[in-house]
């Protein structure tokens, strides 16, 4: 590749490090966790699962925001391919201590007896770090929510919550505050000097371009590329299935895909915007989307995962799809030939299949504002509320005219090979009164409409009950609100 480099640059231990994949014979799909643990002085990050579910591997990535600030984000280092850290600062547990003095978070964990076996501790502390730096007000609920991506099998969590609360309620300037200016400068230099990253060898090609134009051109010329955005889905093929990924097109450095636009009648969300950044932007006009994002994965997952990735995964239990369907969202696809717009309902063509053409990528998701009097809700039923994949999920849209149903849309996840619209159930409700009796009748129809499967998460019979109950819950929640 012309105009490209085979190395990445990042900041570790305060210094700019250059890692040349060719020269050092490192595979580009090496995870950040594996890399750190191969170094003599970075064994604090642990592998507990290699799939994003335990948080023991958590480190913090500091990166320049679009406004030029340093943003600290906790991430699962087990899910990050090395080229993704290009232009970022990696902060590990080893970096918190400075000149033999513990960081206040470390002291708090120590003082509160927040470690027993200690294996989970570095991960918890690193998830706490961005909270500490953000200086937002934290109550117990917020702390629990933020730390839900970390598992501890020993303590029962209480001392961890107490430690986090005590240290984050009174953050002081730490050595990171002092170094912020110089770090920003270094990161800017890396950014300004870097070209696209192209690594080829040992049966693998990895391309991480800098611009959307480069992406589209490359995509047009290479039909066999595997796209990654946050890689929270794709990384598992490496860490769990131990596959060698042959040809990767990495979109994580493309700022055009991280856009967010608010227009009069709609919003447009860049396919590569991390979920954690979407939530605050949409919570007023699309509260149900924000609610869905609240329960999506964990802090660390939301910091990596993207809406584009969730949609293109086309998983029957992907959380965004039913919601986007209820909001009548549209997917913008782009190739060298131009753009086309597909309603999300038409985008999914089968089990984990979409209508995406070989030369296309998803660039944006457009969500029109809901009209007057339209109620939308989303429900996720999973075994554990936090950091779990839905057994059954449901998104509903209803419009009532004097309690008569004049518009109804019902979408389920987990009931079939794709997210599905419950057409028969909708039909039985349409034009009827919105009351318990009609809902209960509709549930009888619903119980015949789909043939869900039994798997590790739930049984077919359980899924049927869940689906029906969610409709009842929706009815109940809407009427409860009316009474208020």
């Amino acid at each position: 590749m012309e105009e490209s480099q085979s190395y990445i640059e990042f900041i570790l231990d305060g210094n700019v490090c250059r890692l040349d994949f060719h020269a050092e014979g490192v595979s580009p799909t090496t995870t950040l966790l594996k890399y750190l643990r191969s170094l003599p002085n970075h064994k604090g990050a642990k592998e507990g699962c290699a799939e994003g579910d335990c948080g023991a591997c958590t480190v913090v990535l500091a990166e320049l925001s679009q406004g030029g600030n340093l943003q600290y984000k906790a991430v699962n280092s087990c899910l990050i391919f090395l080229p993704v850290v290009h232009g970022k600062q990696i902060i590990t547990i080893e970096n918190l201590e400075k000149d033999g003095r513990l960081h206040p978070i470390q002291l708090a964990y120590y003082d509160h007896h927040a470690s027993q076996c200690g294996y989970c501790t570095p991960g918890f502390i690193m998830t706490t770090f961005p909270l500490y730096k953000s200086a937002i007000k934290l109550d117990d609920e917020k702390i629990r929510h933020e730390l839900a991506g970390n598992l501890c099998r020993c303590t029962g969590y209480k001392p961890i919550i107490d430690a986090t609360k005590s240290t984050c309620s009174n953050p002081t300037k730490d050595h990171f505050s002092e170094e912020e200016g110089s770090i920003k400068k270094l990161l800017n230099e890396i950014k300004n000097n870097s070209k696209g990253i192209y690594i080829s060898g040992n049966g693998q090609v990895y391309y991480s371009p800098k611009s959307l134009a480069d992406v589209l051109k490359y995509r047009a010329e290479n039909s066999d590329t595997l796209i990654i955005s946050g890689a929270t889905d794709i990384a598992l093929q490496v860490t769990k299935k131990h596959e060698k990924l042959a040809h990767i097109l990495d979109l994580s450095q493309i700022s055009e895909l991280k856009s967010f636009q608010k227009k009069q009648n709609e919003i447009s969300i860049g396919s590569g915007l991390p979920l954690s950044e979407i939530k605050d932007l949409v919570k007023e006009e699309f509260p149900v989307l924000a609610e869905m994002l609240h329960w999506f994965g964990s802090t660390q997952i939301r910091n990596l995962a993207t809406l584009g990735g969730n949609i293109v995964s086309a998983s029957p239990i992907g959380d965004s799809l039913p919601v986007l369907m209820a909001y009548k969202a549209q997917i913008v696809l782009q190739s060298v030939d131009g753009e086309r717009i597909v309603p999300v309902e038409n985008f999914i063509s089968g089990y984990r299949k979409t209508v995406l053409a070989e030369n296309e990528i998803v660039t944006r998701i457009i969500i029109p504002k809901t009209g007057e009097g339209i109620i939308v809700r989303f429900y996720k039923n999973s075994k554990r509320n936090d950091l779990d994949i839905s057994s059954v999920s449901a998104a509903f849209r209803v419009k009532l005219n004097q309690n008569k149903i004049v518009d109804i849309a019902i979408y389920y996840g987990g009931m079939a090979a794709t997210p599905v619209k419950a057409i028969k159930t909708e039909a039985s409700l349409f034009n009827n009164e919105w009351n318990k009796k009609t809902v209960e009748e509709a549930i009888l129809i619903l119980s015949e409409e789909f043939k869900p499967i039994s798997d590790a998460r739930a049984e077919a019979a359980g899924r049927r009950i869940m689906a029906g109950n969610l409709l009842l819950k929706f009815w109940f929640d809407t009427t409860k609100n009316h009474h208020r």
């Binding site: 003599p40 064994k43 604090g44 642990k46 507990g48 699962c49 290699a50 799939e51 579910d53 335990c54 547990i93 080893e94 918190l96 513990l102 964990y109 120590y110 003082d111 007896h113 927040a114 470690s115 027993q116 076996c117 200690g118 294996y119 989970c120 570095p122 502390i125 629990r144 929510h145 730390l147 839900a148 598992l151 501890c152 099998r153 020993c154 303590t155 029962g156 969590y157 001392p159 769990k240 131990h242 429900y379 039923n381 075994k383 554990r384 509320n385 936090d386 950091l387 779990d388 994949i389 057994s391 590790a456 739930a458 019979a461 359980g462 009950i465 869940m466 109950n469 009842l472 109940f476």
Partner: protein, 771 residues
């Protein structure tokens, strides 16, 4: 001394500097070990071809059972567990080949290239299958007292039923790992994440066919264990040692999370059948209970676990006529193993569910029925196995907790809440635990220690116990410092090592500090005697009197004569004087628990040194439409005797309780019809997360009740709190029961997942419609 002393590794934990086995520097030439395992639950190996796999560059050895120099055995008690399968395959995940590779990628590639032809045969996958096939592991065990037949025949009230508890995966954060390093000659050093280094040492020696003195096993700390590394940590050590022996190079073997979940045993699933007779007031008159355990394919510790389940099948209750039959069934699953509570939870769950049913049947509050049936203080205090319950704390715990948890008021407001809400139901429950402390295999109740004092006064303590996070080394350090009267900073507890203290028992059965603390105390009392004699001589000369060495006090870094406080010498000076006096400053210590015995045939004896007591009250709120519950509040009052370290003990209680909450709620293991475990990663196996703990969580220790005859009058605390989580399960059941206005017995087993709760609620709704 601060009895909230911090964890001795706390600073290392929070800085990421604590070294676990996978963090140790890798020696040059270190190879990575991999295990090729069975993909069928039952079958015969027909043929195999490892040539292609061997040809992968970087593969240095592929071993099968024929390459084992010694005995092909890893069974800890009964030798029915081969290190590598020979011809027969008995479960999915059973080891067949071992691979040593220069890197992870090459090792994984070789795994894919091994070709094997297997003749599959029908598998026994459940307890029901095993019962039909009469596949008992060993003859049934029985504990019996009074006359059950008579008691049941004369029953005023009678119930019978069936109840199940599920498997539970340990989910220690650090998966199984060992590193074996060949030394000169036959030597083999193994760094192993094991709760039982002596057994690891023994098995490594046996498979390699070398004397045990050639094998040294060391463990500084584990990243959690919970029983899962009591026997099953031996496997990875044995495999690593076989590969290290074959290649002459160091080998590290660490299981991935999926491998760990698939290959290692779990908490035994139980199927419980029972018949119970009780009076109109709710006093239990007779109990006939059969405990069926799914042992998996090998014996492992199943018989001891079954036995403990039997001991605990009456929990805190006196029942005059009892028959407890225990059966362990052999199935084609991974061999189930020790897990915090060791059968106790299953036995206790059985009786707690029965009491719950009795209360519902009689329309009485279950907390009252529990109280009514508690072991008495002076009478009604003999267990079915004829041990007298002494120092009974049940009544004091009950009274204090009912009061502090505001139980009765909350019961009333819950009733109001439930009447007002159709889709939300609340439930409340109290549950006690009375847990017998000691290894029930009597000879295991022994421990050793080695204490060295160096010339500068610093003290090094080694003992047979292992550190898995529970804080054992912290307590031992406190004990040593207290006994020597010096500051804790002067004492260091080292890694557990079989060459320092030999022939140790596993760190298990909550006995770590009880046994090892006593052994350390024994060693220290020898050292104090030696130092004391030197000092007595010096003081006698200096002050011109006859100092009695036995009267010397060791305290505050000084040693002084009891009647003459000013006649003193600093500990450090005393040590130096003893050295000049040519006294040995190194001593071993030993302890065996007195008076422990049990006759397995008669089912009679005195298996426990004492009982640990605890009690919990939990309240939950159930969303009837989703099956989700929130634990609104839990109050725990626990008896740890005179706590050696309150912070550590509270940590054990909270952590054990939450682990128990996982067992009774979200942790579910399912297998497909071929015997494949479906929930083999945290993606689908859900341990409690930070939001699953009680919203209000009050944990207190019972104060003012010292335990006679134990180290510093303390009590074991590792396991008992686990079972307090049954209060959550019972509260959930109470809430489900409220769906039918408490008229219908909910059909709920363990675990009560959101799905199972929904099914049970649904069933009640349908039954009500039919009423």
């Amino acid at each position: 001394m601060n009895n909230k002393e911090k964890h001795e590794s706390g600073l290392l934990h929070v800085t990421g500097k604590a070294v676990y086995i996978d963090d140790m520097p890798e020696l040059p030439g270190l190879l990575h070990g991999f295990v090729f395992t069975s993909s069928v639950a039952s079958g015969r190996i027909f043929s195999f071809n490892i040539e292609k796999a061997k040809a992968v560059p970087g593969i240095e050895a592929i071993l099968c059972y024929r390459d084992i120099p010694g005995e092909n055995q890893m069974g800890p008690v009964i030798h029915d567990e081969p290190a590598l399968a020979e011809e027969t395959l008995e479960c999915i995940g059973q080891a067949i080949f071992l691979i040593a590779a220069t890197s992870e990628n090459t090792g994984r590639e070789a795994l894919r290239l091994i070709e094997i032809e297997i003749e599959e045969s029908p598998a026994i996958l459940t307890i029901d299958d095993a019962i039909s096939a009469r596949n008992l592991l060993q003859p049934p065990r029985k504990i019996e007292c009074g006359s059950v037949e008579k008691g049941l025949a004369e029953a005023e009230n009678y119930l019978e039923g069936k109840f199940e508890t599920g498997a539970q995966e340990h989910w220690y954060l650090e998966t199984q790992v060992a590193m074996a390093i060949p030394g000169e000659g036959q030597e083999m050093k193994v760094f192993a994440s094991t709760q039982h280094p002596s057994e690891t040492q023994a098995l490594v020696a046996e498979v390699l066919d070398i004397p045990k003195n050639q094998v040294e096993v060391e463990i500084r700390r584990m990243g959690g264990a919970f029983g899962g590394k009591e026997t099953q940590a031996n496997h990875v050590s044995v495999w690593a040692a076989l590969l290290a022996n074959a290649t002459g190079k160091p080998v590290k073997l660490r299981l991935s999370r999926d491998e760990d979940q698939i290959m290692t045993g779990k908490r035994h699933p139980f199927l419980i059948n029972y018949k119970v007779a009780f009076t109109g007031k709710g006093k239990i008159a007779a109990l006939d209970v059969e405990l069926n355990a799914n042992a998996g394919y090998a014996t492992d510790l199943s018989m001891a676990i079954l036995e403990r389940a039997m001991f605990h099948a009456t929990n805190a209750y006196y029942i005059p006529n009892v028959r407890i039959v225990g059966k362990a069934w052999k199935t084609n699953q991974m061999s189930n193993t020790a897990f915090r509570g060791f059968g106790g939870p299953q036995g206790i769950a059985a009786i707690e569910n029965i009491i719950d049913r009795i209360s519902r049947k009689l329309g009485k509050d279950p907390a009252e029925i529990r109280y009514l049936n508690f072991f008495g203080m002076k009478e009604r205090n003999i267990t079915p196995y004829q041990q007298k319950v002494k120092n009974n704390r049940l009544h004091v715990l009950w009274e204090k907790l009912i009061h502090s948890s505001n139980y009765s008021e909350r019961r009333k407001s819950i009733n109001v809440f439930n009447a007002e809400n159709e889709f939300l139901k609340r439930g409340l429950a109290l549950s006690p635990v009375q847990f017998g402390i000691s290894f029930t295999t009597s000879f295991l109740n022994q421990a050793g220690a080695l204490v060295n004092i160096y010339k500068d006064g610093s003290v090094l303590v080694n003992h047979g116990g292992t550190e898995m996070g529970q804080g054992l080394h912290t307590k031992i350090r406190q004990i040593a410092a207290l006994e020597l009267g010096i500051s804790i900073d002067q004492v260091k507890v080292t890694a557990t090592n079989t060459s320092k203290v030999p022939n140790t028992s596993a760190t298990a059965a909550s006995s770590g500090s009880d046994l090892n603390g006593m052994a350390v105390k024994d060693a220290i009392s020898k050292l104090k005697k030696r130092i004391g004699e030197s000092i007595a001589k010096i003081l006698s000369e200096k002050y011109g009197y006859s100092c009695n060495s036995e009267k010397l006090i060791f305290k505050n870094n000084f040693i002084w004569d009891q009647p003459f406080k000013e006649r003193k010498i600093s500990f450090n000076d005393a040590v130096l004087q003893a050295y000049f006096n040519q006294e040995s400053l190194s001593a071993t210590g030993f302890y065996k628990t007195p008076n422990i015995h049990f006759d397995k045939v008669k089912g009679i004896g005195h298996p426990f040194h004492y009982y640990a007591f605890g009690m919990a009250v939990s309240e939950v709120e159930l969303d009837v439409l989703t099956g989700h519950h929130r634990i609104l509040r839990t109050d725990i009052l626990h008896d740890a005797g005179n706590s050696i370290n309150e912070a550590l003990d509270i940590g054990q209680i909270e952590g054990g309780f939450i682990q128990g909450v996982g067992w009774v709620t979200s942790e579910e293991c399912k297998w497909d019809s071929k015997g494949n475990l479906l929930n083999h990663s945290p993606d689908t196996y859900k341990i409690p997360g930070i939001n699953d703990i009680p919203e209000i969580f009050n944990v207190e220790l019972l104060k003012g009740y010292p335990n006679p005859n134990t180290i510093r009058q303390s009590k074991a605390v590792g396991e008992p709190p686990f079972m307090l989580a049954l209060s959550v399960w019972l509260a959930i059941k109470d809430a489900v029961s409220a769906v039918g206005d408490h008229k219908i017995e909910p059909d709920l087993n363990i675990p009560a997942t959101h799905e199972k709760i929904l099914m049970a609620s649904e069933k009640i709704k349908q039954e009500i419609q039919q009423l």
